[in-house]
Structures are given as structure tokens and as C-alpha cells.
Point group: C2
Chain length 492, copies 2
């Protein structure tokens, strides 16, 4: 056994244990009996203890020092890169701080949920302040003198920076605000879906659509949960969905979204499984997969025509008369308070707001007590509506309670990447619409698998997109797509 083999063997076991811990999270959201919560907390903490000890195991440092990268192939060097990043990150954060953060964010979830239900921001503020203080301490340890926010961003999107994200948003914001104004002022406005849609039929249709988009049920399963998510890597990638009898799109499009995440994980080359390359490379690239499936493909005219037929077959009483009207309905634009319910135009405006605020919080330029006012002012500026209550504003997202600072911008990065990929995909598969209209997305999934998904974390995030599309990422394809799609749809 060489040092490299020893290191890879050790990492493989850690990856397997990480998969076990991840599945414990899946079980908690889908299967766990209510009375098991306290014991589950101890189980999760014990697994986290095992994983943390392995992540900072000094043997990793010794192996890394002893291995000559020149003797390895590209895959070997990429594994070293990812292992080194993880080891250095884990080693920089004192165990005591990591434990304090785990405890604080674990408790914060309940505090946030209670505060949101009671519309009581003040009940959450001290907890939020504590989490920000801990994350700032962590960011300082990670940044080694650099920008603390960049250090946090690195957890979710290696290789980018707050300044780059800010520049990206500067290019997007005026065009999105202008497009929103135009679309909302248009004479032609699509109808909303009304009626009642039995839950079992929603699940059946979503399962059919999931498989049509390439989700492999022999390496996954679909269950119900309060929040849709995708969980797991390699041979066992599970998704969840939810149902709302008045809104079948919630179930169908959240399923397509999660299928995007899940097919990425399922599509990684089996040779990378249980290695440091065996997952999606970053949150942004991950979100590019969920978004292109959900929006560029799932809300296309072609696929929505197919979905219209399937929905008429499943549900008797659709109030939408024809496929063209249905296409309008699934792409209906509204100004809403809630990010997760936002349409393609407004979604990124929601994210920009959070990015600017969390960057100021981490920098110490914004105090927790001034956050609601800053949120509300910014929301009114971008959306033209005053926030009516905290649950529609600053308390709507769980992310900050979970300590996720630096995570929000990866959503928009994913949208931008999806725009780039979509442009390249259309070039490569000229008849894509013909296939989507028949409910067949195998050409799209095949192209994404061949050019992006199979590589897992082989290349850095930005290089992953460049490799797939052949060019530097840019906001232009996304903005051009949105302007063309919605101008046409709203008769502008």
C-alpha cells in the first residue's frame, strides 16, 4: 500500500460514514417517530463526533505531505485538492468553536420557528446575534487575514468571492427590476390554476415526471416531507416532496427541482463513489442542475404542453383551456414576499437582498437590531411593496438560524450557471423542444450527464461550467433567456 492508497482508503471510510450521517438526516425528516427526537439528537452528535475526529486526523496531514502529486493522474490530483481543502478547513477551526456552533444552530432552529410563528423578531434576535458572533469567529479563523465573508462563501462555492458575486448582482439587478415592471404592467396576464387536486394523484404524476427527467428509482426513492430536499450521493440518492391539494405545481415543480439535484448525484461516475470527488462540486453548480430542470426545461413551452396533457389525464377539472394558456399559468409572474414561491424573474431579487444584508452582518456593518428595518426598506425598494409581518420578511428563511451565511448567493449563481448550460444545451440538441413536448428529457439529461454530472468534483466549480459550456460563465444567457421568454409570454 502506498501513502496515496492509505489516504484514499481512510477517506473512503469517512465518506461512507458521512453517507450514514446524511441518511440519518433523511430519516429524521421522513420516517422518525415524533418521540425519538431527543435520542436522535444524541445519535447525530455522536456521528458528528466520529466524523470530526476523522476530518482532523493528523494522519491526513502526514499522508498529504508524503504524496508526490506529480506521480498521480488528474483524478488523483483532484482528490488531493479536495482532501486538502477539507482537512485544512477542519483543522483551522478549534474543536470548541465547532461544538459551540453545532449546539447554537441546533437550538436556534426551534427558537426561529417559534419566533416566526409568533411574528416576534425580538425573540429571535439574541440567538441570531450569537450565531453571527460564532460564525464571525469561525470566519476569522478560516480567512487568515482575508475577507471573512469570502471565507464563509468558500464552504459552499470554492473559488468565488463576495466582490465577484456583488459584481454579478450589479449586472443583473437593473435588468430584472425593469423586466419585472414591464411584465407586471402588461395587459395580458395568465390565469392562476384553481381547483382541488387529490394528493395521491399529485404524487403519482410527480413520480412519473421524476422518472421522465432521468431520476433512477433503483438508486433512489420519493417520500413526503415538510420541506422538499435531495439527500445522499452515489448509489442511494433520495428525494422528498410535499403536496398542497389546491396547488399541484408545488408538488410537481419541487419534485423536478429535487430531481435536478438528485440526477446530478446519481450521474457522477461510479468510479468516483465514496471518494472526495463523488459528489456535486459546489452548491452553485448543484443549483444549476435543479434550476435548469425546474425552469429552463420544466417550465418551457414544450414540456409544459406535455404536462398539460398529463394533468388533464390525471385531474378532471383543470380550469385552464389549452396548452398555451397553461404555459402562461406555470410561468405566472407576481410580486410576492416569499423567496421559495418566487417566479424566475423575482427569485434573484430575493437573493440579492439577503446577500447584501448578510454581507453587512458578517462585516459588522449592520447590527442585528437594525436588520428588520434594513430588510423592509430594501424589499420595498426592489419589490414596490411594504413588508406586512416578519414571517413575510426577515423571519421567512431558516438559513441564518442554521448558521448558513454565504449560502444564499449560490442560488443565484446556480441560476446564472443554468442559463449558460441551457444555451450550450440548446446548441447541442437542436430538437430539444420536440423531445420535451413528448415528455422525453433523455437528450437533455444525457447531455448534462456527459458534459457535467459525471465528473462530480473533478474540476473546480467555475471550471466545471467552463468545461461543459466551452466558455466563461456570464449573466448574459440567463438575462437574455428571461427577457425573451417573458416578453413573448406577456405580449411585450
Amino acid at each position: 500500500m502506498t501513502n496515496y492508497d492509505d489516504l484514499m482508503g481512510f477517506v473512503r471510510e469517512t465518506q461512507a460514514l458521512g453517507a450514514v450521517a446524511g441518511r440519518l438526516g433523511w430519516d429524521q425528516e421522513t420516517m422518525m417517530p415524533a418521540g425519538a427526537a431527543a435520542q436522535r439528537g444524541e445519535e447525530m452528535a455522536a456521528m458528528e463526533g466520529v466524523l470530526h475526529a476523522r476530518r482532523v486526523d493528523p494522519r491526513i496531514g502526514e499522508w498529504l505531505a508524503a504524496i508526490d502529486p506529480a506521480a498521480l493522474d488528474d483524478t488523483g490530483r483532484a482528490n488531493l485538492r479536495e482532501i486538502r481543502r477539507s482537512f485544512e478547513r477542519a483543522s483551522k477551526v478549534p474543536a470548541k468553536l465547532a461544538a459551540a456552533l453545532a449546539r447554537a444552530t441546533s437550538l436556534a432552529h426551534g427558537v426561529w420557528a417559534k419566533a416566526r410563528a409568533a411574528e416576534d423578531y425580538d425573540g429571535f434576535a439574541p440567538t441570531l446575534a450569537e450565531i453571527i458572533a460564532l460564525r464571525r469567529e469561525e470566519a476569522a479563523a478560516l480567512a487568515s487575514g482575508g475577507d471573512p465573508y469570502d471565507a464563509l462563501l468558500e464552504d459552499y462555492e470554492p473559488g468565488t468571492s463576495g466582490a465577484e458575486i456583488a459584481a454579478m448582482f450589479d449586472a443583473m439587478r437593473p435588468r430584472l427590476v425593469a423586466l419585472s415592471d414591464k411584465v407586471l404592467g402588461a395587459e395580458r396576464q395568465p390565469a392562476a390554476l384553481t381547483g382541488d387536486y387529490p394528493e395521491a394523484a399529485q404524487i403519482a404524476l410527480s413520480t412519473e415526471v421524476a422518472q421522465a427527467f432521468g431520476y433512477d428509482m433503483t438508486h433512489g426513492r420519493i417520500d413526503k416531507a415538510v420541506h422538499p430536499f435531495s439527500s445522499g450521493s452515489g448509489a442511494d440518492v433520495r428525494i422528498t416532496t410535499r403536496t398542497d391539494s389546491g396547488d399541484p405545481f408545488n408538488c410537481i415543480y419541487s419534485t423536478i427541482h429535487e430531481v435536478g439535484h438528485a440526477t446530478y448525484e446519481q450521474g457522477v461516475d461510479a468510479a468516483h463513489r465514496l471518494t472526495a470527488l463523488g459528489q456535486g462540486v459546489s452548491m452553485g453548480v448543484h443549483e444549476s442542475q435543479s434550476r435548469i430542470y425546474e425552469n429552463q426545461l420544466g417550465r418551457s413551452r414544450a414540456f409544459s404542453a406535455h404536462l398539460f396533457g398529463r394533468m388533464r389525464a390525471q385531474f378532471a377539472d383543470l380550469n385552464i383551456g389549452d396548452a398555451e394558456a397553461f404555459y402562461g399559468t406555470v410561468n405566472r409572474v407576481r410580486r410576492g414576499y416569499i423567496r421559495t414561491e418566487a417566479d424566475e424573474i423575482h427569485y434573484n431579487l430575493h437573493v440579492m437582498l439577503r446577500f447584501d444584508l448578510e454581507r453587512a452582518l458578517v462585516a459588522g456593518d449592520l447590527d442585528v437590531h437594525d436588520l428588520p428595518e434594513a430588510w423592509n426598506n430594501r424589499f420595498e425598494a426592489d419589490f414596490g411593496v411594504a413588508v406586512d409581518k416578519p414571517s413575510n420578511g426577515v423571519l421567512q428563511d431558516v438559513h441564518w438560524a442554521a448558521g448558513l451565511f454565504g449560502y444564499f448567493p449560490t442560488y443565484s449563481l446556480g441560476n446564472v450557471y443554468a442559463g449558460c448550460l441551457h444555451e450550450a444545451l440548446r446548441r447541442a440538441v437542436p430538437d430539444l423542444d420536440g423531445q420535451l413536448a413528448a415528455g422525453d428529457s433523455s437528450a437533455a439529461t444525457g447531455w448534462l450527464r456527459e458534459h457535467l454530472q459525471q465528473f462530480g468534483a473533478l474540476r473546480e466549480p467555475r471550471d466545471t461550467i467552463i468545461h461543459a459550456t466551452g466558455s466563461e460563465p456570464s449573466v448574459e444567457p440567463l438575462l437574455g433567456y428571461l427577457e425573451a421568454k417573458f416578453s413573448e409570454l406577456y405580449g411585450l
Copy 2:
């Protein structure tokens, strides 16, 4: 922190990790997508590696040496006893041997299943021989000069011996054979259930019955699996069941059986959770709970009358006319090849056969190649029927493929203990039948919880039964119960 606190904290984490590993097994049988099997094997092996390292951690030896048991209460001393037993057991077996056994038994499952399907004992014999050789090596390491079979038995039923089990069976066998002959020769023979019973209604009725027997669904759940089992301890104890549209008793009584195991685990005092006392104390005592629920309570005249009413409400076309005939049907005695389908009289005869054969295999007195002949001769002697094929004989059970030598006798020990507990329960709750007839088993579960279940592994297995019943375990209550019940039922 004292040494005792440190030790208990360490064991608590190990218990939590053991619960995670156990739930991984549950997931594999109930939820895992088919294509995930190979990856799951690596996940299980990684968890086993973590657990093994903790079980032999030298700090446990140091803590045990440093703690003064006289400074502890009964609970503390019982914890030490169980921790010491586990530590010494794990430390005696070389890691290489433990790994070889894990690998061999893991592979053996597939070999056995294939051989059974093909009626090909010779295809399984080399694998069985390898497992026996490894278990003999392990037994020699554990026995330190004593009887190797006793050392294996100790894994499942601490404090008993092969000689004690043999004496127990010597007392049982002639009376069971005589009772079998009498019952099968009787003029009065109950009818079998016929008809078709929709699966969903079977599950609904079994779930109702499970809760009536005290199973707490806020700390558990019921799913389908190929083989019924109970999994987990403390706050999260899950059971599985199966359905056969022609035989609803399969679903209902296997559920009641697993509920016996599960209520034992759910009934352990919450103060013992995640300690070395937080589970059922032995396989024999565990089986006493599943058996008393399934047989002495579940197949009683009183409860079967209640079940008859519930089945008539759920299923229109029962072919059984009245509650008394139904009582005969649920207690129908037949000579069958298969242990898991055996009635109360024949079940222990099945176990005796396996006990004698596996004891001879471990002692080296019986060669693997002579096993089928030995099985078939013994079966014909006890059951009066020739074995027609390996799947009805020596290949029917998975236990030996799993390396479980010394496990079978705990089934009969459980029956004997159930007999003792049932006698004491009837004394303590004179109106038990009145309650069971109303579908209410709370007095029975309450008595078992108060006198046995709550203590977990506080006392050694035999002492656990003595504490609950007030007297030494004996075969008499079980045999007396069987003779009285079946003589009356068959008009003898």
C-alpha cells in the same frame, strides 16, 4: 468528572452509534433502493469498524480498573458488569478473526439463499464449513479452556450452558412428543382459515392490534419487510410485518410477536436509555416477551374471541362460524417441516433438533457433509415424516449462514420463561381473560412492564425471570399450560 462518569459518557456515545448502525439495518430491509446494496455494505462495514474500535478501546479497561464498585449503587454496578462483559468479549477476539467472520457471514447470506432456492445443500456446505471453523476458532478464544459451545451461548444468553439447555430439553421432549401424538390423533380437528384477505385491511387490523398490545407509535412505526423483525431500543423501536392474502394470521400474529419484542424495548426505564442496561437483557428473555404476547395472550380463548369480532368487521367472508371454532383455528396443530410456521407444541421440537445438531457441529462430533442425513433422521424420529427437500430441512433457516450458533436454544428458553411469566401474570391479574376478551391488554402489559420490562439489563437473565415471577424458572408451567390448553381444545 469521575472515572465512572467518563466511562458512562463513552459508553453512551457508543450506544448512540450502535443505534445508528441498527437503524441502517432497518433501512436496508424496509426502505433501501435495490441498487444501493454494494454501497450499503461499505457503509455498514465502516460503522462496524468505528464500533469495534470503541468496544476494544483500552481506556475502557483503565476506567474499569480505576472504578471502585463499592462506591456505586446497584444500577452502577450492573452497568459495570455489562460493560466489562462486552469489553472482555471484544478484547478476546483478534481483530483479524472478527473481520474474517464478518466477511464470511456477509457473503454466506447470498450463498445460502441461492442454495436454498436450488435445493442444493452441496453448494452451501463449503461456506457452512468455513463459518463453523471460524466460529470454533472464536469460541476457543472466548472459552479460555471451557466448553466452546457454552462460550457461544454466552453471546445470546449469559449465565446458561449447553448442559443446562440439554437438561431442559430432556424434560420437555417426551411430553411434547406424547402431546403431539394425542392431539394429531384426536377426532376433533379445527378447520383452517380459507378465503382472500386484502393486504391493506390486514395491515390496518395488525396496527390496531399492535396498539392494543401496548405498542407506542410515537416511539415506533410499522413497515413491510420480507421477514418480520423488531429493531431499535429506547425512544425509537420499529417493527416490520408481512402480508399473505391467503393467510391473515401470518401478518397479525407476526405483528403481535414483534410487538412483544418492541414493547420490551419501549418499556425499559428511560433512565437506562443509551446505557449498557438500556436493552432487553438476553435473547431468551426477549423471546419470552414476544412469545407471551403471541401465544399465551394472543392465542388465548379470550383474545381470539375479540380478534374474531374484529376480523368479521374487517373481512366479509370468514369461513369460520363462531368464536369457539375460531379459537381452534388460530391454535390448529399440524406436523410441518418449517420451524417458523410451527404451532406451540411442535415449535420446541424444531429447536431441540437444531440445538443437538449445532452442538455436535461446534464440538467437531458432526461433519458438515453428514449434516443433512443427521437432520433428516432426527426429523423423522420426532415428527414421523420424511424430509422431502433441503429447503424443508437443513436449508430452511438463515441462522447458521449468519454464524448464529448458540442462538436457537434461546427460542425455547423464551417459551419456557413465557410459561413462567404467564403463570405469575394470571395469579396477579385474575380478570385477565375478561380484559383480553374486550381487546384490552393493558393489565398484562402493565404487569410485564412493572415486573420485567422496565429493568432492561439491570439483572442477569435468569435473575430477571426470578425477580418477575418470584421463583426459579422451570419447564412445568409451559408444559402444564400446553397440555391443558390443547387437551381441552381437542376434546381429549
